[in-house]
């Protein structure tokens, strides 16, 4: 009986998430604050970069979540197209503005970091370019949601756009590598590289900051999905009145 799909029922979703929202807020703000405060005040300066290295605690987690938010939208879109759960479509819609914000944070902090390190706020480096393209995809996705009156049709079409957009964003990601050489260093997360390049003093607060961004994303996502469900209810009630 306990199937994950029972949460696809909006009423069930609202009741279940209502119980989690409070603790989730506390947990995500606490984790995020721990990571950022620890990183900002209690880590040593880098011998080469000075205190500038501390931008990492905002830059890396937000960049990671900017991409993950899109992947989550893709999964939610596929669930909507295949199983037609309304909560799923609304969750995809709710994720987009959060993704935009994280993309902007990654780009803004990256620009500030790029000035002392590379001597420029902006360069047409493959990763910077990919993030710019990602940002445009987010804008297109949001604009399509807003433009369509019929919300089921909007859910269908935005899901299809998200699917096609993912493929083309990936193609662009590889296309820009033929076109420009990168400035970024490779990833330094041991999970990905298999070995540790960053010292523990930097790495543990970074893990907290990443956890904080993940938790904050989930919290905001649930909150925005709940808002979207309520707005849908308001629409339905208004339609009944007239």
């Amino acid at each position: 009986m306990a199937s994950i799909w029972q949460y696809a029922n909006p009423a069930k979703f609202m009741a279940t998430t209502a119980r989690f929202m409070g603790p989730l807020w506390v947990l995500s703000i606490a984790t995020l604050a721990t990571g950022l405060i620890w990183g900002f005040f209690f880590t040593p300066d880098d011998f080469k970069q000075g205190s500038t290295v501390k931008i990492i605690y905002l830059h890396v987690p937000s960049a990671m979540m900017a991409i993950n938010a899109w992947i989550m939208m893709l999964v939610a879109s596929l669930i909507w197209l295949i199983r037609r759960h309304h909560v799923s479509a609304l969750a995809a819609k709710a994720a987009a503005p959060i993704g935009v914000t994280f993309t902007l944070i990654a780009m803004a902090t990256g620009a500030v970091w790029g000035k002392p390190m590379w001597g420029t706020y902006w360069a047409w480096d493959p990763r910077l370019t990919s993030f710019m393209i990602l940002l445009i995809f987010y804008f297109g996705y949001i604009a399509l949601w807003e433009a369509l009156e019929d919300k089921d049709l909007a859910a269908d079409l935005t899901s299809i756009l998200c699917m096609v957009g993912s493929v083309f964003a990936l193609l662009s990601r590889y296309a820009v590598q033929f076109w420009s050489q990168g400035l970024h260093q490779g990833t330094s997360i041991p999970l990905v590289t298999g070995e540790r390049q960053v010292d523990d003093v930097f790495f543990i607060p970074l893990l907290f900051a990443m956890g904080g961004f993940i938790l904050l994303f989930i919290t905001l996502l649930l909150l925005r999905t709940r808002t979207a469900i309520r707005l849908r209810r308001i629409q339905a009630l208004k339609a009944k009145e007239t």
Partner: protein, 214 residues
């Protein structure tokens, strides 16, 4: 399918020269480049491949809302959707007709326009080949965008916002095919984009059309 392609082509010729309009727009865009950056031949010849590709891209964009809009408004599209041919076939025919009436003329027009921007002599063949191979991708992607914005009134601006980011890989490989020393590899990658678009996008476009017509 051939009937639909023929019908769309003759419509494009009949409708007050939609085809001519696209090429004229391309011409204006190219002529405006020296106005914007100055007439120095060295600079112009350097940016010519990119400018010609961007011009072709924007001219394509201009013609996209014609693909389904008229048929949608007068109900022909509903009739075609219930016709015995699959919707995917209809979409493919529409995209091919669009390519014949925009992509192909733009490819041919790019050669004399390259002259205006002092395109280096050795690049004419690559310009021709890259546009010939790349513009079908633009038509298939554009048809997809047109299907998405079908039910939106005055969706032209939105259509551009949705379609342009999808054009990025085509543009990158298209220009690289002209300027990169290893032309053939870039042409092959460009061909991959076009084939992928032609093979997969009609199914997705049909999905979007069916949702829009429901």
């Amino acid at each position: 399918m051939w009937a639909i392609i023929q019908r769309d082509i003759s419509l494009a010729f009949a409708q007050g020269g939609g085809l001519l309009l696209t090429v004229a727009f391309f011409l204006i865009l190219v002529v405006f480049v020296p106005f914007g950056i100055g007439p120095a031949p060295t600079l112009l010849s350097k940016i010519a491949p990119g400018m010609l590709w961007i011009g072709a891209l924007l001219a394509t964009l201009l013609s996209l809302d014609r693909i389904f809009q008229l048929d949608f408004e007068d109900g022909t599209l509903d009739a075609l959707a219930t016709a015995p041919i699959p919707l995917t076939g209809l979409v493919t025919a529409k995209a091919l007709a669009h390519w014949i009436t925009t992509g192909l003329p733009l490819t041919l027009a790019a050669l004399p326009l390259g002259f205006l921007l002092f395109l280096p002599n050795g690049q004419y063949m690559w310009l021709f080949l890259s546009l010939l191979i790349g513009t079908p991708a633009l038509s298939f992607i554009g048809t997809f965008g047109a299907a998405l914005t079908l039910s939106i009134k005055r969706g032209g601006l939105l259509l551009s916002l949705l379609v342009l980011p999808l054009f990025v890989p085509t543009l990158l490989f298209g220009v690289q095919a002209i300027i990169h020393p290893d032309h053939t590899i870039m042409l092959a990658l460009l061909a991959v984009i076009s084939l992928l678009s032609a093979a997969v996008l009609p199914f997705v476009t049909a999905l979007a059309l069916r949702a829009g017509l429901r």
